[in-house]
Symmetry: C2
């Protein structure tokens, strides 16, 4: 019999071990930083834009000179010069003066607004302004986009397109990121074969499934493949994987006996911290550590292995990478009742109906094809009275 | 003056050209297929599971033998054999018989249900069954997960974790996918510098931003970098990029004059199909083709370039990859009014409030930092009466 702990206890235990196993950092070039996790805050060393900039083609002015101007009563200004793209205007303007300026051009000293060219009429050194503008009109001020000292990327955030753009604008081309955690993935089971299965045999699904999940989380997955339910083979596989990985996943073991054997081997290599979680599916999960590396024994059933990865293993990886815990992405009313569930947190794949309800995908014994049809999954807390149709449920990403 | 066309006309024109430029296919190994786009339907060559399988540890039975059984009146069955994992049971069972079976084991011929071991008591050749089961109980039937002939991956779908699992289960280890479209990205502008900008100069943001967007869409991006607003430099850059890419993006051109020059160069290399789209931002967009390759001239302002990519360029890439058009991911009530917009489809970054409303991120002239704060963007159709607070808006992913 397993001495099961709650899912919350399991996550806390796993996160504690993962925090000690924190991942090393490295520096990557900006284009390679997409999808990586920042290992430090990156702060702006300068303001953006670095100067007051026009957002239109027109004339830089002292706004006060244009107050009260209109179609009938233009302001008459003297053109003091031309602002050119990419150049510091070599002059300043004072009252009664203006300067031609292109979109993106730097305002000359003295100017505090820009009049659109459509509202002006130029005649040599003279410019008639047919519209009044307020100070700041058609101008982006220095620092409006990013202020000097501001954190444009925070430690533990995934670097996406907005961050790439901000870092490029600031000229930060070398980015400190966490190294990709290396995860080795082993499948076990006497019924697991690599070639064509004979009657009663199965192909290895879990090493592919779990490697793909690791890849999605920004890990480098090493697919060890399948081994027999054999003490020496399992020990050899674990030892080999521990050497080259931060984390080892071993799934399967067709019987309780094999799972106990796996736990014994892990214990002999390091220590088993728990064996059994009050979750459904996923009860026979094993967690141990050896030499600071994390080892998970996952159920052999692919959908059970999937949920243990999503709920337990992924939290270890998040902790290693300094990421916050997984959050639901939406709430929805349940389209169904679920009876009370006797002490195990339960997971159900759901799809969203046209009207936005969460509809359970009933599936005998959790076949893997349910993942293709699902829009997410829900958690049903342990020891609840069950779920009633219309109750709000939280949807988690697959 | 630009002769603008509607965004819908622009997308149709671009999609038409992209359909002719369809991308070649290649075969990748299963682990490398994650995130790639399937180039063909992949159909199951067999059923999954390939045999009737027990979902529990227990005894395979003829269900009819257990009807009416209970704690007080067990059915008395004879144990005809043991089913072992990974083996075809070398016997069949008939009425009055049963066989021990592990979770995942193959049912012997004649059996149509499994009784959980907890509801049985075995004594040598005799097994007492203390519960009635229906036909099919605790059994996953052949083909319940995937039926032979079923498409487990459809052409034009992104291969994700569920597909990887299904393909592994079916033993499909070589997957036909579309080659990654190769996109070259050029920035232009006399004010764009690669080193430290002097007053009035700017760093190149667009080549990084657009390359990251291409990478997110599964393209291989080649960052050409920045060139001056110079006819010969722009022509040389375009010719070099056309040679090695399926698609070329050239952004910037600090003035209408430069944009016209870019359009002239594209026209001399092939043909310009349109110059100007009724969208805001993004009006001065150019689209042309040369030798079957697509060329986009994008605005220099990073946020404008971003929206043109998301709304126009991305639809070309989707067409090339056989993907459906981009869809909104959520609907939300608008938290604000927007006045009528005079003939250009408009795009606004929004964040979702605690209560789920779409809140506009007001930003003077669309600074790039707005992308970091946004949860998505909305489209405001051209020639509408404007948007009223409470109107339902559709949210698009950034």
């Amino acid at each position: 019999m397993l001495n099961v702990i709650s899912k919350e206890e399991a996550v806390a235990c796993v996160a504690g071990a993962a925090a000690k196993a924190k991942i090393k950092t490295e520096t990557v070039s900006l284009p390679d930083a997409a999808g990586r996790i920042a290992a430090e805050d990156v702060r702006a060393a300068e303001s953006l834009p670095p100067f007051d900039r026009s957002t239109v083609d027109g004339f830089a002015v002292v706004a006060a000179d244009t107050f009260g101007s209109g179609d009938a009563i233009p302001a008459e200004l003297t053109v003091a010069g031309e602002c050119r793209m990419g150049e510091l205007p070599p002059f300043s303007i004072g009252r009664g003066q203006c300067a031609a300026i292109p979109t993106g051009g730097m305002l000359p000293r003295g100017a505090d607004a820009v009049v659109m060219v459509e509202h002006t009429e130029r005649d040599g050194e003279l410019c008639l302004v047919y519209a009044g503008v307020s100070p700041g009109a058609n101008v982006v001020r220095q620092g409006d986009d990013i202020s000097k000292g501001e954190a444009v990327v925070r430690k533990g955030t995934e670097i996406g397109v907005p961050e790439i753009a901000a870092l490029a604008a600031l000229g930060v081309y070398e980015i400190p990121v966490f190294k990709k955690p290396v995860v080795s993935v082993i499948s076990t089971g006497d019924e697991i074969v690599t070639g064509t299965p004979r009657p009663g045999e199965m192909r290895d699904v879990n090493s592919f499934l779990l490697s793909a999940l690791c890849g999605n989380m920004g890990c480098e997955a090493i697919r060890y493949g399948a081994v027999r339910d054999d003490r020496e083979q399992i020990r050899a596989a674990l030892e080999s994987c521990l050497e080259r990985s931060d984390l080892v996943l071993i799934s399967g073991g067709s019987s309780a006996g094999t799972r106990d054997m796996t736990a014994e081997i892990i214990d002999s290599l390091g220590a088993v911290h728990f064996h059994g979680i009050a979750m459904k599916p996923g009860k026979p999960t094993i967690f141990g550590t050896a030499g600071g590396k994390l080892i998970f024994g996952l159920p052999g059933h692919p959908l059970a292995a999937y949920f243990v990865f999503r709920l337990i293993v992924s939290e270890a990886i998040r902790t290693m990478l300094g990421l916050p815990a997984d959050q639901p992405f939406a709430k929805a009313p349940a389209a169904f009742n679920v009876p009370s569930n006797h002490g195990r947190e339960e997971y159900l794949c759901v799809r969203r109906s046209e009207t936005g309800e969460a509809v359970p995908l009933h599936t005998k014994s959790g076949l893997i094809s349910v993942l293709s049809e699902a829009d997410g999954f829900i958690r049903i807390a342990r020891n609840t009275e069950g779920l009633k149709k219309g109750d709000t449920v939280e949807l988690y990403r697959l």
